[in-house]
Symmetry: C2
Subunit: 213 residues, 2 copies
Amino acid sequence: MLDNYLLEELATFAECKTLAKTAEKLHMTQPSITRGTKKLEEELGVQLFERYPNHITLTKTGELAAQVAAHIIKVNQEGIEKIRNFDQSQHSIQLGVTIPGPRILLQHLKVEFPDNVHLNPELLSEDSITSLLEKNEYTLIFSDQEIFTDQVESRYLGDETMSVHLNQFMYLASQSSVAFKDLKGLSFLVLSCRSLERNHTKCNSRCKISLSK
Amino acid sequence: MLDNYLLEELATFAECKTLAKTAEKLHMTQPSITRGTKKLEEELGVQLFERYPNHITLTKTGELAAQVAAHIIKVNQEGIEKIRNFDQSQHSIQLGVTIPGPRILLQHLKVEFPDNVHLNPELLSEDSITSLLEKNEYTLIFSDQEIFTDQVESRYLGDETMSVHLNQFMYLASQSSVAFKDLKGLSFLVLSCRSLERNHTKCNSRCKISLSK
DNA sequence: AGCAATTACGATCTGCGTAAGAATA
DNA sequence: TATTCTTACGCAGATCGTAATTGCT
């Protein structure tokens, strides 16, 4: 196995291009980096560097090795985060939302949450759900998507309904039915949370929760 | 970052369940493992072990950490293989096949290959194509699938045709057309490579090659 | 001359083993 | 008593820094 300090040296060298700059960036001296390059080649049994008297570059294999090194470092660091976050999640619960409906509801219910339940009211992007759960940054994310992976599962929670009240003086009030597209571009007075019960027009959106196993 | 020896100790402990057995498996002594457990907890700032006077177990977080550890080790080892194989692939070419058509053709052409081109005549499974290419175990795999990932791309190569010759005394010879299903269960005399030109009945199969970028 | 890489030497650190101790079943 | 984990001490190996050397631009 390749030691972390060697991986870091290789990955940094790929960025910095010279041993001197690499050493500086890592708060080390050039000779240490020189040694590192040799040790890497020795351990892998492969030529990673093209050596000239006062000049050194990566071979093709070295380029690949640097990418691999960066990847291993990333996996290591993300692993640490995952462990730390999981430990947190043993003591507290992080709730997230990707759609506004559940957010309104949860903020309303917030007063009843125990101290160790935290809601991030920010709307998370759909794409980030899986990684946020796999890293244990969130315990539970409310969304309208169904997700099943090795580490994430979804449960159907309920339908979300959105209602719009048109008073009798509004120019569309005489219509027997009104579609959402007819309302496009209009301004609304938004109801307070306490008025959530009074629903008239339905908007299709099934709400699901995704949680880490 | 977590050092490899700590990861290995943790992953091994998760299998062995006691420090003594862990030490034995790693050809080390118990006290070293004890130190490892403490150093891990210290570096992560997280409790991984439940300690009793003469007994120690993993916490929930510890269980997860052990899985993460095993994963990091795996990524490291696969990375090393990938680098070594890539270095090989700079000097030689490994050809693979998942279907028999290209195999026959390639074995036929083998005599013309340069010394550094090697064909594995074994039929590889479809599922393994991606990983074999990503690990640089193969440079080129001939298959009838089209694969595009970050590291693998496919090129269309040509159509594969299979022919069956029925001589005039065969009981189906009088039919105006014969489907493959009619031939099910019958025995064949297989033609030698030199006879590949004489094709009569076509079998649909597009041949593609997949290669690592 | 100035910069970059290498070589050589010495010091520090750190991880390992041995030996002894404490607790349990 | 046998097993398991922990603590204490000393050593060996490995990595790092300093200083000196070589080679290019």
